[in-house]
């Protein structure tokens, strides 16, 4: 522990922080960002966080154009987005993982289905067969349900193209293929869950933090055929197949120090308090080593340092 790392937070405390921090990006992260915003204002009464959450796709153009310095994304930036950012800003953006999430498949609570394989997911949602060649699934009977379920049609719900969930689902579950045109695209993850909860024949995908009383979470079968529910253990270990980190991208040149506002924000997000918000929102907090790595990457004092300096 260097003296600087101890002194810096204290220096920051000397003059009260003030200002407004604007963020653009993921709707999945929208709830988290607003909660972090509330807590940031509690820590620094003069600091405000403005959250615009219409989808991960909105973050890269906003970051590249300099419309915002912080962009929340529920998927990593693509090569093209990174290249655009580097072309405009001259340095790569810094991706800070802030939580873990899993793309979760939901069905109505009356649906007897319990698990799916990835090939079945593609056959349900895609027009193309880039991963596997399972024929298209149109009735619940094709997934092994019997009785009156066998002849019921499948209604599919998903997110709009701006969302990271959409892009990631497309890349991971459809191998980059195209969605069926009759997949309902709704402008919010909870809208997907709500729609699934209101239609008995529905299946939909969204982030982890959204289950309600009306839906059931499906397990996904891994390579060995073992069904895996998106539990905290399975997500942290990566045994659940559609696991993803949620990122907050920040426009930070390699030799530049994080400006005070951004610093306060990330200090909160990557703290036990910030990670408790993650758990409360139904996502999975970052495991200890990844949290420490993320703090190091931003040159934030390590967590032990924070507790020491605040107890001083």
């Amino acid at each position: 522990m260097t003296l600087g790392a101890l002194l810096l937070p204290m220096m920051a405390m000397a003059a009260p922080l003030s200002g407004t921090l604007g963020t653009v990006g993921s709707d999945t992260l929208g709830g988290l960002m607003t909660q972090w915003g509330e807590r940031l204002s509690a820590r620094h009464p003069e600091v405000r966080l403005q959250v615009q959450a219409s989808g991960s796709g909105t973050a890269p153009p906003a970051l590249a154009e300099g419309v915002t310095r912080i962009g929340a994304m529920s998927r990593p930036m693509t090569e093209a987005e990174r290249a655009d950012f580097i072309a405009r800003q001259g340095h790569p953006p810094v991706a800070v993982p802030v939580a873990l999430d899993a793309l979760t498949l939901f069905v109505h609570r009356d649906n007897p289905l319990t698990s799916l394989s990835l090939a079945q997911v593609e056959a349900l949602f895609a027009d193309t067969r880039f991963c596997d060649q399972t024929p298209a699934i149109r009735r619940w009977g094709a997934l092994g349900l019997d009785g009156d379920w066998a002849s019921r049609p499948v209604a599919r719900f998903g997110r709009n193209t701006a969302s990271g969930s959409h892009a990631l689902f497309k890349r991971e579950a459809l191998c980059g293929g195209n969605f069926r045109r009759d997949v309902n695209e709704l402008p919010g993850s909870s809208a997907v869950v709500a729609a699934v909860g209101r239609s008995r024949e529905a299946i939909g995908y969204a982030g982890l933090g959204y289950p309600t009383a009306m839906v059931k979470v499906l397990a996904l079968r891994d390579d060995e055929g073992t069904p895996r529910l998106p539990t905290q253990d399975n997500v942290v270990s990566g045994r659940y197949p559609l696991t993803r980190p949620l990122y907050v991208y920040v426009n930070l040149a390699p030799e530049e120090r994080l400006p005070a506002l951004e610093r306060a924000f990330f200090d909160l997000v990557l703290s036990p308090e910030g990670q408790a918000v993650v758990a409360r929102q139904g996502f999975v907090p970052l495991p200890e080593p990844r949290l420490a790595a993320a703090r190091r990457a931003l040159r934030l004092p390590s967590l032990a340092g924070v507790t020491q300096s605040s107890s001083n």
Binding site: T78, T128, R129, S151, R181, P187
Partner: protein, 707 residues
């Protein structure tokens, strides 16, 4: 009233007149301002959309070359300047040598795949040298590593592509033998393909295309070092150039007769199916080189006679010109945006190609025609914005225009009869006082925000109708029959008790019986389904007619949006009907016609133009309504006319996708094109409607009406 001015008029007469002129000027200017505002919207949208249809441009200029000998093999565009790679393994920039890559052999081939994968150099001794990149995509020449691909013979052709967690590369030696390396992050496996080839190209997920004469073979490599032939086919002429486009799913083949074709692999029931489409040829000389650019699935073709063409995989040829030198370049370097290509010609001169084709993926054909996209076996109209830049852009406006018109049409189906009926009722069957009470109610209805209607319809009505479909459909029969039955009952009652009944309008009086009727029909819904449709109307519809029922469908949109446009339609139609000069109707009644005869033969024909304009303005509103469609439909870009399937409208599409679109990009401008279409449509419809109304007013005035 107003007090007379007490000020003496004379002394400031000049001032007053000047003030008068000034005020008149200001007022007139703001009147003109309204016209300007309308024009400004149209002009802005047009200006923003026009660049979409600009032609592509390729500028070729000879860049200054530091080469003083013919030993330069390739040139690199780095972020901080240009680098030269000499055949004997030295890397230089404008100042001098940076690194020595090899000392004991020569560089025979180069391959690159994007700005995150390493650069591969094929050496004259059968080895491959890999130069890794850092976070920003800069090459780390000092950390290059070497791997062996062939025993001894030089690697004359090399192709590289990223794969899950690593990369794949394939090379061809001087005798046509083909070998591949698959790097998975932990291990690198080598694979020898048991066939010879003249040209090779690597596609997505280890798919290797090889040609020998007219024979085209597709191999599937696997990370464990295995491989199998997926498909074999004959081409029309001997293949002279080969290349996979960005994404690695579309193969471009150039042949000895100048033919350029696109090959797609798509899975079907029997396995893999290969389909081809041909492009406008450059000429009849053999194609020498195909260069895939990293954006928008653009590619360059160069033929033997030096003709150079820029193509896009779906919209076809975008530009054709002459290359400075006919001989194909040994190696090319492309920047990350795909806007600059550098190559060396045979004389050692450096050529820089600046490619200006920001919206190459858009052409009338891609907007309005069905196309066969990657992974599909038939031509379709598809709208799927390429958000991340890796996907194939699917930019057909047809499904959106279709959805817009479909939603508007179904809304009109619901709204027109109801609104016209209500207008007729209040114009012909209601007293002045009753009308005066109804109007504010309808105006309040007009003020209901779309977001409230949309939310109730989307989250409440849609699931309800799904559960009570039979009952809902039964309403369309029950309500008209029920209301006529009520009328009949009323007449029975009035015969019996006559004057003792309260004087009540049919419109208001029907509310309670109709509410009861609706409630009865909806609660009988499960029995209705059980009696006639085997318990499940939706399953029955599917079996009988093959109709699928989506929860978010045109029926709900029609009802919700119908409710939103009824007030507009009603007010305008009522205005037209009550504007019909009274003498006309009174004359008809005096001549012994019944109320209904007068309505159908006199009043409706006289008001027809006004009603038409009301319908047009209502349609204009329905086309542009955003929140209702956004919240009620599933935004599915389908092309089905079915009442029970979803849709995606231009307006809702704008609301969802515009905030996400990069400003100035193809997607952004296409969305603005959608807005322009909406603007033009409503402009034309409203102007026509206004002209109709104007003429009607003139006609009424002639007949002595009070409108």
């Amino acid at each position: 009233m107003t007090e007379p001015s007490t000020a003496p008029p004379r002394p400031n007469r000049r001032l007053r007149q000047r003030l008068d002129r000034l005020a008149t000027g200001v007022i007139a200017a703001s009147g003109i301002g309204v016209v300007v505002a309308v024009l400004a919207i149209g002009v802005y949208l047009t200006l923003a959309v026009l660049p979409l249809f600009d032609g592509a441009e390729v500028d070729i200029d000879a860049a200054p070359s530091a080469a003083d000998d013919g030993a330069i093999h390739a040139v690199w565009l780095a972020d901080d300047g240009t680098r030269w790679l000499t055949r004997d393994g030295h890397l230089r920039d404008a100042e001098g040598e940076i690194a020595t890559l090899t000392t004991d052999t020569t560089i025979a081939s180069v391959a690159e795949s994007g700005k995150t994968q390493p650069l591969a150099l094929g050496l004259g001794n059968g080895e491959v040298r890999l130069v890794p990149r850092d976070d920003s995509g800069r090459l780390r020449w000092a950390q290059a590593s070497t791997m062996r691909l062939f025993e001894a013979r030089g690697v004359v052709a090399l192709t590289l592509r990223h794969a899950a967690q690593g990369w794949v590369l394939a090379g061809r030696d001087t005798q046509g033998k083909v070998a591949a390396l698959w790097h998975t992050g932990e291990a690198t496996r080598r694979l020898l393909v048991p066939e010879t080839a003249e040209h090779i190209a690597l596609g997505h997920a280890g798919r290797l295309a090889m040609t020998q004469g007219t024979q085209l073979t597709l191999w599937q490599l696997s990370p464990d070092g295995g491989g199998k032939a997926l498909a074999r086919t004959e081409t029309q002429a001997p293949v002279t150039a080969l290349g996979f486009l960005q994404g690695g799913r579309t193969l471009i083949v150039g042949d000895a007769q100048g033919g350029l074709r696109r090959w797609r692999l798509s899975p079907d029931a029997t396995g893999w199916q290969v389909a081809e489409t041909s492009y406008t040829a450059l000429g009849d000389a053999a194609i020498r080189r195909l260069i895939a650019l990293p954006r928008q699935r653009l590619w360059l073709a160069l033929d033997d006679s030096g003709r150079l063409g820029l193509y896009q995989s779906l919209s076809g040829q975008r530009w054709q010109g002459q290359a400075p030198e006919a001989t194909p370049p040994p190696a090319v370097s492309i920047n990350a945006q795909g806007t600059q290509v550098m190559w060396l010609d045979a004389t050692g001169a450096l050529q820089r190609l600046a490619i200006e084709a920001p919206h190459a993926a858009v052409s009338p054909a891609t907007l309005w025609m069905p196309l066969t996209y990657e992974g599909h076996s038939d031509a379709q109209w598809r709208w799927a914005a390429a958000v991340t830049g890796d996907e194939e852009p699917q930019y057909s406006l047809v499904p959106l225009a279709w959805g817009t018109l479909k939603a508007a049409a179904w809304a009109m189906v619901f709204a027109v009869p109801l609104a016209l009926g209500a207008a007729v009722h209040s114009a012909c069957y209601m007293s002045r006082r009753q009308r005066a009470r109804l109007k504010p109610a309808i105006e309040l209805m007009e003020a209901l925000p779309g977001v409230v209607i949309g939310f109730v319809a989307g989250l409440f009505v849609a699931p309800f109708v799904e559960r009570h479909l039979a009952g809902t459909l039964a309403l369309f029969v029950c309500v008209p029959l029920g209301s006529v039955a009520c009328g009949w009952l009323w007449r029975m009652l009035s015969r019996r008790w006559g004057p003792r009944l309260p004087p009540i309008s049919a419109g208001v009086g029907l509310m309670v019986p109709l509410a009861l009727l609706c409630w009865a029909a909806l609660s009988l819904s499960p029995w209705l389904e059980a009696w006639w449709f085997g318990g499940d109307l939706r399953a029955w519809m599917h079996q009988q007619w093959g109709w699928d029922y989506a929860q978010r469908n045109a029926l709900i949109v029609g009802m919700a949006m119908g409710l939103a446009i009824i007030p507009t339609l009603y007010s305008l139609a009522e205005e037209a009907l009550s504007g019909v000069p009274r003498p006309l109707a009174e004359g008809s009644l005096a001549l012994g016609a019944t109320r209904a005869q007068t309505l159908w033969r006199v009043q409706l024909p006289a008001a027809a133009p006004g009603i038409l304009s009301a319908v047009m303005i209502g349609a204009g509103r329905a086309v542009g309504e955003t929140m209702i469609v956004l919240m009620v439909t599933g935004n599915t870009p389908l092309m089905s006319p079915s009442l029970f399937e979803g849709l995606r409208s231009l307006a809702a599409n704008l609301a969802i996708e515009l905030p996400e679109a990069a400003v100035g990009g193809t997607h952004y401008r296409l969305l603005l094109l959608g807005a322009l279409l909406l603007f033009v449509f409503t402009f034309v419809v409203n102007t026509l409607a206004e002209m109709v109304r104007w003429r009607l007013k003139r006609r009424y005035r002639r007949y002595g009406g009070d409108a």
